[in-house]
């Protein structure tokens, strides 16, 4: 039989209601359900979460670290997006 490696999944855990899922690590599994089971056994042995996401690592589209500055640069000169850009005159409240 030709040798096949189990695909890699990334694991995200919601630690409690009201918080977002957070990346915890990765896991190998042969299918989605087994990935969930393995992620539970590997990453939540001490009640670390109430919800799990697993997604095939190959399905994640990521920005290129080498392009970081060019990619995020357009946001840098728009300082007027921050409220601190604006001067508030003395005597004006609740603004």
């Amino acid at each position: 039989m030709t040798h096949k490696e189990w695909p890699l999944y990334e694991v995200f855990i919601r630690s409690k209601a009201g918080l977002s899922h957070r990346h915890a690590g990765s896991i190998h599994a042969a299918d989605d359900q087994m990935a969930l089971d393995a992620a539970r056994d590997t990453y939540t042995r001490r009640s670390e979460g109430i919800s799990l996401w697993v997604v095939r690592s190959s399905e994640i589209v990521a920005s290129d670290p080498a392009e970081t500055s060019a990619f995020f640069e357009p946001a840098e000169d728009k300082i007027y997006r921050h409220p601190t850009f604006y001067e508030i005159p003395d005597g004006v409240e609740n603004l």
Partner: protein, 330 residues
């Protein structure tokens, strides 16, 4: 658990090193010096990548092989409570192995490649696991001393410059404290028991003390690759510093238990505030690393057998996954 002298045995540099420009290397070192974390897809020197793959994979292998000495006593634990605790501890070791293989894979080496290197004997694991577990007290001594030494080694790794490794270590260190305490608890119970039980605890300490001390790796003067690992902030403290720290915190614990540390030269030095200790027999460590420890062959043979026996499960899981993927697509 379980690192030991993992900064050793750097392989010779490969051809890619020559292609790295001085400017890239300098920029990389600047990031490290500024305490910036390096992430999987960031540019890194080939030697940095190699060092990490070796260290992380050997660390993972140590967790996996480390299940064997304790697994040996699972079915013979003295009570159901002790059995449940030991089972949870051994399961944690498997989990630690998986976190670490995952961190290692981010560097571009597959899980299967790493495991193949373990099974072929090319990759090392911590030599401590090549000692046999002869009595129940060894479960106590391993948790207390071996996991204790591992904690000393691993806490600084939580601040390692490589992000995925550092994050895996944070997770591991949180769990490790349970391991050490359950071991100390076993020792304490034995030391409060009959003379025979206390003698069993002393015997375990006698056999595990020196191997635990050696887990920190060769002394600094013989540790060739420490300087580079320190500069890259993979390593934060030298082997000898960590060893001294371990001895300083552990000897008072042995005193509390009423056990004698098997070192005639052990003495507290009022001037330095540290314990002085006797000469370490490095020939023993080197011999065990070279493959001549009491259990080297047994450990690898057992791992190979487990891997071979599990082959049909891995294949069946793949076939099942593919069948369901086809059904879902249809």
């Amino acid at each position: 658990m379980y690192t030991q002298g993992l900064d050793q045995k750097e392989q010779s540099s490969d051809k890619r090193d020559a292609l790295e420009s001085a400017a890239d290397l300098e920029a990389f070192q600047k990031r490290i010096d500024a305490e910036q974390k390096i992430e999987a897809k960031d540019w890194m020197p080939a030697a940095y990548r190699r060092t990490l793959v070796r260290q992380i994979s050997q660390h993972a292998h140590s967790e996996i092989i480390g299940m064997q000495p304790e697994g040996n006593w699972l079915t013979r634990a003295p009570t159901l409570k002790r059995k449940a605790i030991l089972l949870a501890k051994v399961q944690d070791e498997a989990g630690h192995g998986l976190y670490l293989y995952g961190a290692g894979e981010t560097l571009g080496t597959s899980r299967d490649e790493m495991i193949a290197d373990l099974l072929s004997g090319k990759a090392k694991y911590s030599s401590i696991f090549n000692y046999p577990t002869l009595t129940w007290a060894d479960m106590g001594a391993i948790g207390w001393l071996v996991d204790g030494a591992a904690i000393m080694n691993q806490i600084p790794l939580c601040r390692c410059s490589y992000g995925p490794y550092a994050r895996a270590m944070v997770r591991i260190c949180k769990e490790e404290s349970f391991h050490q305490r359950q071991g100390f608890d076993i020792m304490r119970e034995l030391c409060r028991g009959t003379d025979e039980q206390k003698a069993m605890a002393q015997d375990a300490l006698n056999r595990w003390w020196w191997p635990s001390i050696m887990m920190f790796g060769p002394s600094d003067k013989d540790s060739k690759h420490s300087a580079q690992s320190m500069a890259w902030k993979i390593k934060r403290f030298s082997n000898d510093e960590l060893r001294q720290k371990f001895i300083d915190v552990t000897v008072p614990q042995a005193d509390f238990l009423g056990l004698r540390v098997p070192d005639d030269d052990l003495a507290f030095d009022d001037e330095t505030g540290h314990y002085r200790f006797g000469a370490i027999d490095w020939s023993e460590l080197n011999d065990v690393i070279a493959g001549n420890g009491p259990c080297n062959k047994q450990r690898i043979a057992k791992r190979r057998k487990a891997h071979d026996d599990g082959a049909w499960v891995r294949e069946a899981a793949i076939a099942y996954g593919e069948k369901h993927a086809t059904k879902a697509a249809a």
